[in-house]
């Protein structure tokens, strides 16, 4: 079959020479800073002249489906960049291969035990399907000036106080208080906020049933309470109603709102916050920013966020597991994080402790220590992507007044427990 390879064409056009290597592997990296990874890969290739690595990228929104589709039909990249919660489902579907042998033969950094969120990578049978790569969590960030303008001297540390502060800022300044994306698209933000709220109050959507299975760890009433809590922010509660049509934590209406001083509090991961700070600095030309990060408000169980991040897996179809693993070893090394991927936090306890977060990021550093793994959520019956989607849909239907919080919560509860029962 005639297959024109644009790859070779372009490579020979640009470099003028044909790259001759023993083994070619493909690394699929999904974040925007591909240039950083390409530079690192060059270094890796120089140290491993027998391996030629090609970097390719798929937008995160399409990455999960695309890799599964490819791998399950017998193709796909050799090394793949995936979210924290995908390894188990992808491993059980035989899209990823167990790394146990590779790890025990070659070792990995200070040992696999040093990596965070073990339960998301290791199946009940003990197969390790991916290596945690970078980690982060979401938390609240705020504009110090706007808070003091509204007479709030200390950032609220409990959920009711947060709602009160948001309302107060809106009343006092006319600006948005806590502005968050309340949209219901498949990768909505409300999923994270609702779970943080439930966890902080001692509940969880899915829990281990102690007998090797899973069960619901929340009642429909508690679901409804969470829905109502976040709905109370809308409008005069400080979150502009227009945020109903926004579904991303990096939407301009949030980020630009913060930068321009039209909004006081926002919810985001460190990467978004960093880029927000950079934009603020380049626009104002001043190093000083009015921004700070806080921690998640506490409930009866503390202020709990999720331990998120990205991991690296090896395709079950790869013909070069050894070489692929060498790349994984390199990408998780201390040198790689120090020299190349400086904007991300390594998912290893030994390395994490030496990261300097800087003053604005202090909240993230504290919150990371209070992060929990999705744990029981990552089970074969309730794919996280589907629960994530359903959460946004149910909350959205309630928010626009189609159904009451009770009905929305009951529908949602039935859907998730239905998935567990299958």
């Amino acid at each position: 079959m005639l297959k024109l390879s644009g790859m070779t064409l372009v490579a020979s056009l640009l470099l003028g020479t044909a790259v001759k290597a023993e083994t070619s592997i493909v690394f699929r990296y999904n974040d925007g800073d591909v240039a950083v990874i390409e530079a690192a890969v060059e270094e890796f290739e120089a140290a491993n002249p027998d391996i030629d690595v090609t970097v390719e990228r798929i937008a995160w929104g399409d990455a999960r489906t695309q890799f599964l589709r490819e791998a399950l039909i017998g193709g796909g990249p050799d090394v793949v960049h995936i979210a924290f919660v995908w390894p188990l489902e992808m491993g059980q579907a035989v899209a990823l291969q167990p790394l146990n042998d590779l790890i025990s033969e070659n070792g990995i950094q200070s040992g696999i035990d040093d990596f965070v969120a073990q339960d998301l990578f290791t199946s009940k049978e003990g197969s390790i399907f991916a290596v945690p790569w970078t980690t982060d969590t979401f938390t609240l960030v705020y504009n110090k000036d706007l808070l003091s303008e509204a007479g709030i001297s200390e950032f609220p540390s409990e959920w009711p106080a947060l709602a009160e502060a948001s309302r107060k800022i809106h009343e006092a300044t006319g600006k948005a208080g806590f502005g968050f994306s309340a949209g219901s698209a498949a990768s909505n933000v409300i999923w994270f906020m609702l779970n943080y709220y439930w966890w902080s109050n001692g509940h969880a959507l899915i829990v281990d049933d102690g007998a090797g299975g899973y069960k619901m760890g929340i009642t429909p009433e508690e679901v409804a309470e969470g829905f109502e809590y976040f709905a109370s922010f809308m409008g005069d509660g400080g979150n502009p109603d227009t945020n109903i049509s926004v579904s991303s934590w990096s939407d301009p209406s949030i980020v630009n709102g913060m930068i321009s001083g039209h909004q006081a509090i926002a919810f985001m991961p460190p990467a978004t916050f960093r880029s927000m700070l950079d934009t603020y600095r380049s626009q104002t030309g001043s190093e000083e920013t009015p921004f700070a990060s806080a921690t998640i408000p506490a409930g009866s169980a503390g202020g709990i966020s999720h331990l998120g991040g990205r991991s690296l897996g090896i395709n079950s179809n790869t013909k070069h597991p050894e070489e692929s693993f060498r790349l994984v070893q390199y990408l998780t090394s201390k040198g790689f994080f120090e020299k190349h991927l400086k904007t991300q936090m390594p998912a290893q306890k030994a390395l994490l402790s030496s990261v300097d977060f800087g003053p604005e990021m202090a909240g993230f550093a504290t919150q990371l220590a209070n992060g929990r793994s999705w744990g029981a959520y990552a089970n074969p019956k309730t794919p996280i992507g589907e629960m994530w989607n359903e959460t946004g849909r149910s909350f959205g239907s309630f928010l626009i007044g189609q159904i009451s919080a009770e009905v929305a919560a009951q529908d949602f509860y039935d859907k998730i427990s239905g998935m567990l029962g299958k």
Binding site: A185, D241, T242, S245, G385, E386, I400
Partner: protein, 303 residues
């Protein structure tokens, strides 16, 4: 028309076979694959093992799903009916406007015809990006309406029940109006002048001339264009998915986004195939109607 003779068979086959072979490869196998899947519980995660045969379970689940009625309604009413009607009316209005004497004399005809090409050359994904910026809380529309005092608070055009469909239809209309307008313009160019003159002799005014002469002349074009628009929009998943993600909630969910959501987000390939087969069935009925009343009439000569 050349009647069928054996000596022509070679030529006819040579003309038809390449195209039909490609089409068969492209459509028939995937359609069969889908039909089979719709009777299984196949999921993306179980693709290695394959799905189990579950009979018509997916179809039963689908009919029982309370949300499915809304999906059908959204697709039939908003996407197929209202969007087509709006585009026919606006397309016709715009064509008449461009064709009108004052516009020609003002030297705007060529400019207008070029302006029509702009939306057409814009990929849907780009159209959605720009219109989302317009509809944004701090976007163009909110700023204008606030300045004019029409609203006192910014409106979430894509986020509430009253405005989300009109806003979506605005995006679809902007992006797809050119084809409709150009078609009407083409039809207007073939307006029979003698009929117009006869009507003028009878002392008919502009309105009467429009109703008695222009409209009947354009009617067949309207019917064909209307049916084509329904077909194109019915299957289109891009606008809704990119603009609202089928939300708020599932308020703007349509058949094509339901197929996508079930297949590519929930990974339920079996269920998703069943929804797809419902789409095919609806389109087959529609297509039979279209073929019988429009295509075969327009092409009476060659049938």
């Amino acid at each position: 028309m050349i009647s069928f003779e054996r000596q022509h068979l070679g030529f006819i086959l040579a003309m038809l076979v390449p195209a039909f072979l490609l089409l068969a490869l492209f459509y028939i196998w995937p359609a069969t694959f889908n039909l089979w899947n719709s009777f299984t519980d196949l999921t993306l995660l179980s693709m290695r093992q394959g799905g189990n045969f579950v009979g018509i379970q997916n179809y039963v689940d689908l009919i029982r799903d309370s949300g499915f009625k809304t999906v059908i309604w959204n697709t039939a009413f908003w996407l197929a009916f209202v969007s087509t009607l709006i585009r026919l009316l606006l397309g016709l209005g715009l064509a008449l406007l461009i064709h009108s004497e004052p516009v020609r004399r003002a030297g705007l005809r060529t400019i207008a015809r070029m302006a029509i090409l702009l939306p057409w050359a814009t990929p849907p994904i780009v159209a959605v990006v720009v219109w989302r910026q317009f509809f944004d809380g701090q976007g163009l529309f909110n700023q204008i309406f606030l300045d004019l005092g029409i609203i006192s608070e910014p409106v979430a055009f894509l986020g509430n029940q009253a405005t989300v469909w009109p806003a979506l239809l605005m995006i679809i209309t902007w992006n797809t109006l050119p084809v409709v307008t150009l078609t009407f313009l083409a039809a207007l160019q073939t307006l029979p002048k003698d009929l117009f003159e006869a009507a003028e002799m009878d002392g008919a005014g502009t309105w009467r001339k429009f109703v008695d002469v222009t409209l009947p002349h354009l009617a067949p074009t309207m019917v064909v264009m209307g049916l084509l628009l329904v077909i194109w929009t019915f299957n289109n998943f891009v606008y809704v998915w990119l603009a609202t993600g089928a939300g708020p909630g599932t308020f703007t969910n349509v058949l094509a986004t339901e197929v996508f959501m079930k297949g590519f987000i929930s990974f339920e390939l079996g269920y998703s195939s069943a929804v797809g087969m419902i789409m095919v069935a609806i389109m087959l009925v529609f297509g039979a109607f279209y073929f019988h009343f429009v295509a075969s009439r327009n092409f009476k000569e060659i049938m």
